[in-house]
């Protein structure tokens, strides 16, 4: 179907685009900085990051609600510059659902069919019925949107976006107004529909766990820039930057000075007391590094790289407990099967469990 590509897309507010009233000197705000990404045909691609990172602006640029200041958006190689949203053939679902309150559910779903013929010889009514079935809302066509629950409204919005069989499906935080349990079930339903239709999808969320769970690939964004693009497990295991390491999942990040390197493993001095730890994967010429170890890799039974953690808080999560504390002035988070009994807790990690985020030679 469609391959989406953004090349060098930047977006600035405040100078040329919006006309500001005279005398009001508004600092030029950079919303997007040189965003490059390719979403493959049929892929479920997620933009994830904290609020204000530019993920929604990116999505709105793809949909055509914003024009990039520089750079191009192409659908299957066709540049979209100057193409208004109504001619881009995209389906959009918003966080607020934006259902038309004066139209019934069926009228909402059929709205896009006024402008684009329903696919493959179906009548409008048949297409509406098909879509309502797809989202498990058979027989709800005559209702008013206001009569539906949040989850149902969200599915109507999805059906409406999909009815004209768009090239691209764009979802802007479609689940964030729903409660956690409903969110999970809708997420599975969305996943199923997306792979059934095999439609290229861009999904925006601030919830990194959701992004990891649902995506084929994801891009982590921060301050208008893409920090890392990759498959969920690669981004989780091998974050490219300190921001990604700390944003995606719980993590323990520390800085150290390389004091010895035997070609395979390095000895690194960490924290106030310059405690020595042994790490694998450190470049041989590095003198200073930042590394991270996932909480799950810090185990009580591991004897290598022993750390004594001063415990501050313990959260009961059901199957596990999450423990926050400090070791050697480095904040530490642990995930243990049983809550620790004392005020300290000894854990260790294998040299291969650590991932070096960055290194420098000075």
């Amino acid at each position: 179907m469609t391959e989406l590509r953004l090349a060098g897309v930047s977006k600035r507010y405040g100078d040329t685009e919006t006309s500001t009233t005279a005398g009001e000197s508004e600092a030029e705000a950079i919303a997007l900085q040189n965003v490059d990404l390719t979403v493959n045909d049929g892929e479920f691609f997620t933009l994830v990051g904290p609020s204000g990172c530019g993920k929604t602006t990116t999505l709105r640029t793809i949909a055509g609600f914003e024009e990039p200041t520089t750079g191009t958006v192409t659908f299957d190689g066709d540049p979209m510059t100057g193409v208004p949203p109504e001619d881009r053939d995209v389906g959009v679902v918003f966080q607020s659902y934006a259902l038309f309150p004066h139209l019934s559910v069926a009228e909402n779903v059929s709205y896009g069919l006024k402008f684009r013929a329903p696919p493959a010889g179906l009548t409008v009514d048949e297409r509406v019925r098909e879509l309502l079935e797809l989202v498990d809302l058979e027989g709800m066509g005559e209702r008013d949107p206001a009569q539906l629950s949040g989850g149902q409204q969200q599915r109507v919005a999805l059906a409406r976006a999909l009815a004209p069989a768009p090239e691209l499906l764009l979802l802007d935080e479609p689940m964030s107004a729903l409660d956690a349990r409903l969110r999970e079930s809708l997420r599975r339903q969305l996943s199923r529909i997306q792979s059934e239709l095999d439609i290229t999808t861009v999904y925006v969320t601030h919830d990194q766990a959701e992004a990891l769970a649902i995506s084929d690939r994801l891009a982590v964004m921060h301050d208008g820039e893409i920090e890392q693009i990759g498959r969920p497990k690669d981004v989780y295991r091998e974050p490219d930057s300190r921001f990604v390491a700390e944003f995606v999942g719980d993590n323990n990040v520390f800085d150290g000075r390389v004091v010895d390197h035997d070609g395979e493993r390095a000895t690194v001095a960490v924290g106030e007391t310059q405690t020595r730890v042994t790490l694998a994967g450190v470049p041989t010429d590095a003198t200073h590094i930042a590394a991270c170890v996932r909480p799950g890799a810090l185990r009580r039974e591991t004897t290598q790289n022993q750390l004594t953690v001063d415990i501050e808080t313990t959260e009961f999560l059901g199957e596990r407990v999450r423990v926050h504390g400090h070791w050697n002035s480095v904040p530490i988070v642990l995930r243990l099967a049983e809550p620790p009994s004392g005020e300290t807790c000894s854990v260790g990690f294998e040299p291969e469990a650590a991932h070096v985020i960055s290194s420098s030679e000075t």
């Binding site: 055509g64 259902l99 038309f100 409406r160 976006a161």
Partner: protein, 614 residues
């Protein structure tokens, strides 16, 4: 498409609003095709217009002298405390010792502008004093008919001014209903209107503006989040203290907004003063009208420009102040409402008795004049009569064509009302769309488009008369000229479209932008999205705006009376005024007909399901 509509609206505004206003300005500063400020200097330095301030304008640099005069005036104020043995009411004879603070100020020559401001200030005080208790009751108590009463607070605002004036006359006049009642218990008659016309004028202004103050204040009161009050209580504030610290700061801006609006409206008052006070109580507006009647256009224009500058300043202050306030959104949890009369015991508590007393007084003030209008049209001081209506009928059947007849007035009123609606509704909607779309720079469009609120009907009437009706020469020997009837519709449409805009804009800006974007992503053009999504969602506002447009056209007096003078395009309010000069009976009957037409149009609107916003 939208750009085209915008251009059309701008063109209509230019011809209908800015051209006439410009003509007035040009008339004021151009004499024998030579630009001059002499008329302004004449007016500003004439004590007749500016009272004591005229000296200051005449010689603004003699500060010492002016300060000396001010000090002399302050020194002459005397304050005395004594016992008074008579209630300060005109018809009560009791001898009671009442402590009385006497403040004697030496007379100040106010001049025409000073007096206009003085009566506006008194009217504002009266409106706030009468409006606040109503706001308190409507915001804090639940009772049968509260919602209806709340939406009725908009009603006085669109009632024809001349009709209300006649209503007050029918109530307080020498043979009015109040005197009939007083006569029944052996008192009076008291010449209310004749002995203290200012008090009656102020009361009539309160009739208009107290509901306005109440309406704005109730909206603010109901948007107070009760959680904030509860937070203050939990932090240790007493009930009274929490009210003072949390509720009052949120009410004050609303009350000030209402007061400012009241001041603006009453500063530009015309039909009420004309009908109840005449030239004896002339305000700037009445005086301008009088100048026009005497064909003294230059002086009228000069006064009009001065008045407009003042009211524009006030309106600008109002708009600035209004936009500085965060929008009044319905709070998540508004304060709870207490039942007003849960049981007999509560009814007898002092607070409930006070509310009852206030309610009774309000009933007299608000229903009295309208009821008196109807009663007055059917009585002649001695009993029931149909004479007044018979006179109207006779005038219709046998009157000469130069005489004012009832049917042409009714027909013209309805015709102009519909024409106004047709012009004002599209204009108002287009301006709303442009304002909301423009976002921040929308305030500029908003202010420009709201100019009619600041330009009085009389001023606008002269502009239209001199600009469009007398005709403007265009290059190439063309002449741009319209008839009186067209000019009247223009005047009404310009007065009405801000109300359409004010009803539509809030709804329009509440439409989730994501809805429009959804429609566009589904293939609708921007204009199509406007038609399919935004307009249906603001339909109730458009209906309400249309209702306003019609009601304002029916009641408009100030510019109509100028534009219809000596012609046959008079409307019902103009007919009322023409009868009032000679025969009060038929005027009251004509006012009653006007009341019926106005009431009927409101019933229609209510059925269509409008909601009214100001």
């Amino acid at each position: 498409m939208l750009a085209l509509l915008a251009l059309a609206t701008a063109a209509v505004l230019a011809v209908m609003l800015y051209l006439p206003t410009g003509v007035v300005l040009v008339n004021a500063v151009v004499e024998d095709s030579i630009p001059t400020l002499a008329p302004f200097v004449d007016v500003l330095t004439d004590p007749f217009y500016f009272g004591v301030l005229a000296d200051v304008f005449a010689d603004p640099l003699a500060i010492g002298e002016h300060l000396h005069a001010l000090a002399g005036w302050l020194a002459a104020i005397s304050i005395s405390v004594g016992l008074e043995y008579r209630l300060p009411l005109p018809f009560v004879q009791f001898e009671l010792p009442i402590p009385w603070v006497g403040v004697e100020t030496p007379g100040v020559r106010q001049g025409l502008f000073g007096f206009t401001a003085y009566q506006a200030a008194l009217s504002t005080i009266a409106s706030v004093a009468i409006g606040l208790p109503a706001a308190y009751i409507l915001a804090n108590y639940e009772f049968y008919g509260r919602r209806t009463l709340r939406s009725l607070t908009i009603l006085p605002f669109v009632l024809p001014g001349i009709m209300v004036a006649v209503g007050f006359y029918a109530m307080f006049g020498r043979s009015g209903t109040l005197n009939t009642i007083l006569g029944g218990v052996g008192l009076g008659p008291v010449a209310f209107v004749e002995s203290n016309p200012l008090a009656i004028v102020i009361l009539a202004h309160a009739f208009y503006n107290a509901p306005l103050v109440a309406r704005i204040t109730v909206a603010a009161w109901e948007s107070v989040d009760i959680r904030a009050v509860e937070t203050a209580r939990s932090l240790g504030a007493s009930e009274r203290r929490a009210f003072r610290d949390v509720v009052v700061p949120q009410l004050v801006p609303a009350v000030l907004t209402g007061a400012l609006l009241t001041f603006i409206f009453t500063f530009m008052t015309f039909p009420i003063v004309l009908a109840l006070g005449g030239l004896q109580l002339a305000t700037v507006e009445v005086w301008i009208y009088d100048r026009i009647q005497r064909l003294d256009y230059t002086e009228a224009a000069t006064l009009a420009v001065l008045e407009t500058i003042l009211s524009l300043g006030l309106t600008y202050a109002y708009l600035r102040y209004e936009s500085a306030q965060t929008g009044l959104s319905q709070a998540a949890s508004p304060p709870p409402k207490e039942a007003l009369f849960p049981d007999l015991q509560t009814v007898l508590s002092p607070r409930r008795l006070a509310i009852l007393g206030y309610g009774l007084a309000a009933l007299i003030l608000f229903v009295g004049p309208l009821a008196s209008l109807v009663v007055g049209s059917l009585t002649d001081g001695s009993g029931f009569t149909l004479r007044n209506y018979a006179f109207l009928l006779e005038r219709q059947l046998e009157g000469e064509s130069f005489q004012t007849q009832p049917w042409p007035a009714i027909r013209n009123s309805l015709l102009f009302g519909v024409a106004t609606l047709v012009v004002a509704v599209p204009m108002g909607v287009v301006i709303s769309v442009l304002t909301v779309r423009a976002g921040r720079s929308g305030t500029i469009i908003d202010t420009l488009a709201m100019l009619p609120l600041a330009v009085s009907g009389v001023v606008f009437g002269i502009g239209l008369l001199q600009g469009l009706v007398f005709g403007i020469s265009l290059p190439g020997g063309w002449q741009f000229q319209v008839t009186g009837a067209v000019a009247i519709v223009v005047a009404h449409a310009v007065a009405a479209y801000p109300f359409v805009t004010r009803n539509v804009s809030p709804l329009l800006s509440n439409v989730d932008p994501a809805m429009v974007e959804s429609a566009r992503a589904l293939g609708a053009s921007r204009f199509r999205a406007l038609l399919d999504v935004e307009l249906p969602l603001v339909a109730s506002g458009i209906v309400a705006g249309a209702a306003f447009a019609f009601a304002i056209s029916i009641g408009e007096f100030s510019s109509t009376v100028i534009l219809a003078s000596g012609s046959e395009s008079y409307t019902m309010p103009v007919a009322v005024e023409r009868y009032l000069g000679r025969r009060t009976g038929p005027a009251i009957a004509m006012g009653t007909l006007l009341l019926c037409v106005t009431a009927a149009s409101f019933v229609v609107i209510d059925r269509v399901g409008g909601r009214y916003e100001l």
